[in-house]
Subunit: 255 residues, 4 copies
């Protein structure tokens, strides 16, 4: 009978752990962290160029300050009297559809419209019309402050070109930004989520792994915030009464 | 009045995110992931040697197969019909006192006994007697299968020496292994948790960050297992009746 | 400016907590737990009949043995060396689309097709055809073992009738079961999720609260299992090698 | 060989689920939710009096407004784009040592000092001296605003007396409050956590289940807040820049 627990990722003997076939003890000291991550996720070792691209991608999302809901949730959980790992887990939990989800959505979108043999520019024109005229919502485009270009996108895209990893999905993403601009006369910038989505798609990753790139890249930020909360702040954060607006039923008696 | 939200880690302007003072857009493409992690956790950039040490440490814990409780918990959570990030969070939750906790405990122990000016060998002798005669439990020592040495420890310690990061805490850890052997005539090997604990202590990290090194290193493994479960396995794992032994009250009627 | 924290549920003064307007100290000793839950969720006190219905609903899902993925996840998390509340949280996390989700889906379905003035039987006939001929998937119907009727459904539906809480949504659910049987000649039984969905819909609850009924009812089971694991089992569960089938790349060397 | 999965709580056959030996279908409509919870946790059915006590205990902690860290964490997690159950799980995660932990600590304390045959008053006098003179920290005593008595404690203790559930642990708790007052001339009031701890101890529950009473009682509050956030609030809460004080390294350039 088939075992209930199957995996292609790794296995242990008494003496060794094998990651995608490679002995872990051979990996230590030889592979960089990004190379190890690539091996785990892809099943094969990266080239020097793929490693560099991975480093850039993870660094681009490594932390975003204390303001996002993941950090606020994490710090509140720690302040309830919990260990570092419980706070970090609460931070990861916060990565729902609106917090890292754009990356995954953009990958799905680019992989869906980038799979045909069709000319990328033709697809981009067609999609741009949908976006502008039918008001399609697309993930990975648009930014609150960057109206001309997202500097992180620029960095990542230039690097992808330099490293020879700039393929069909990257071209589609940038062509779409361009086509929307032509029709609308206003830019809807390709943001950092969109850029990562395009590049990881060109690197051959399944869109269902999209959120994983964000999680791996952002974990160090969560750990840093959890450690700071644990060591620097008094326990039990709570909202002040002045921060709260009660809009419910006024006081009444039971009976 | 002081703000309720204080941080030394990072901040955002409309145009940029600053990590420990450095603009994120400058970091992309210039820093490796491990360098970014070091900067976040330590507040300053690593040397080339510290970067290499970090790479080796994270790779040494990157995955350990499907067997550990974190992966079983994660896969059950995914199988209940959850997204990738929820499964990964459940994996992180599992990292309690018995799962990654040895690293933190060993750091605390080594930092406590390694802080004095006293001769490391004298401390090791004294501690070894406690361990052998008073049966002190110490974290970071002992292994189910490795009875002579832990090959991961050997790799990491050799690298630490090569990179000039082998200091007082590493010496204490190895001296203690040696002294216990002398008294007991049997090895209690310094395992990979103990090795990482000693090296990160010598790199100047607070023991309360200990679990963080394990979390950061193991996250790629959790992501890989979550993705595999999500894409390869049918939903709703459940135990078969044959796996369960009911030891409670026999059936009875209400009234 | 509007506060960022708004609520209609409850508020505190220095001396008292008010739940939907009622002083908490007045509630203690006067309201049963189910009455308190109803007040919190609905905003008003239940009648004696609504209270009884709530009691029956929560009891009907209170525990389901050690086999479901929520309990397996919970026990693995505890076994990693975590506190009771962390294990319970992992259990709650497991309640995704396939674990309690049927209740919410069935509520949405019944509320969508039960909102029209149209005759319930006509709607049921129309839906039954979709289910049988177009193979629509509907939540809250079907059971692995119960092929004639689900005894829990029978209990809950009889009670709803007795208490005068059997309305349009209950009629639609049972009519649909009946119509499918007529067309197909085989029963697709209304299961316990479907029954709770129909009754809570008739009690006026929003389908988006559906999972909440399951969570509240099942929490005592999770707490009981977490306590048992914590006090009766050795730490660090792990799969035996015999339970695992490795299907990945065979061992190979790095260089 | 012994099974890896053992339980005394419940088991399933194809036709029925048995909770502590009782068929679940018999329980539906016959037991109140509190009776079902008692059965699950204790292994036997409660008397009418024990049922009433349970109702009062759970109601006494059912919700505490939007201010506590559990609700703030929960709402931030929901706002990241997550489902109801994920938010509720984050709320449960927050219940660490400082958030519900006092109940468990007070149970342990009362069970430790209440187990001897010794006269309760003598123990109380001895403990009061430790508290006042040696500044022992005790959980379950003290309140930010209630300086004379905690009205919830009064309600619960009066009910316990009325129901004949006021035993050795309740006497110890109140005697200790009294003795501290005598020595110090100032009250350290027995708060609601302390009252629940004393009563559940007299009802025969293990202190390691302490947090469980809090979790079960507070879950409806978490569900209500999660539902409100999900249906009433826009996604992605984030701190405003004015709420944050950056205290780290000023901006600098990489190279």
């Amino acid at each position: 009978m088939a075992q209930k627990w199957r995996t292609k990722i790794s296995f242990n003997t008494k003496e060794e752990t094998y990651i995608r076939g490679y002995p872990l003890t051979q990996m230590i000291g030889k592979l960089s962290f990004s190379e190890g991550i690539y091996l785990l996720l892809k099943g094969e070792l990266p080239t020097e160029k793929e490693k560099k691209m991975f480093d850039a991608i993870f660094v681009s999302v490594i932390d975003h300050g204390v303001a996002p809901p993941s950090v606020v949730a994490l710090r509140n959980v720690i302040s309830g009297g919990n260990s570092l790992h419980v706070g970090v887990a609460a931070g990861v939990l916060t990565f729902g559809d609106y917090h890292g989800g754009a990356l995954e959505d953009a990958m799905r979108f680019l992989q869906e419209y980038g799979k045909d043999e069709e000319d990328v520019e033709a697809v981009a024109t067609r999609l741009a019309e949908k976006v502008v005229k039918e008001k399609w919502k697309i993930s990975g485009f648009g930014h609150k402050y960057y109206k001309d270009f997202d500097p992180r996108t620029k960095k990542l895209m230039n690097l992808a070109k330099e490293l020879g990893l700039f393929g069909k999905h990257c071209r589609l993403a940038l062509a779409l930004e361009e086509e929307i601009y032509k029709i609308k006369g206003k830019k809807l910038v390709l943001n950092v989520d969109g850029a990562i989505a395009a590049i990881t798609s060109d690197m051959g990753f399944d869109y269902r792994l999209g959120k994983g790139f964000f999680i791996i890249g952002r974990i160090p930020g969560l750990v840093a915030h959890a450690f700071e909360e644990l060591t620097q702040e008094p326990p039990f954060r709570r909202l002040d009464e002045e921060e709260i607006e009660y809009q419910g039923h006024p006081p009444r008696n039971l009976e």
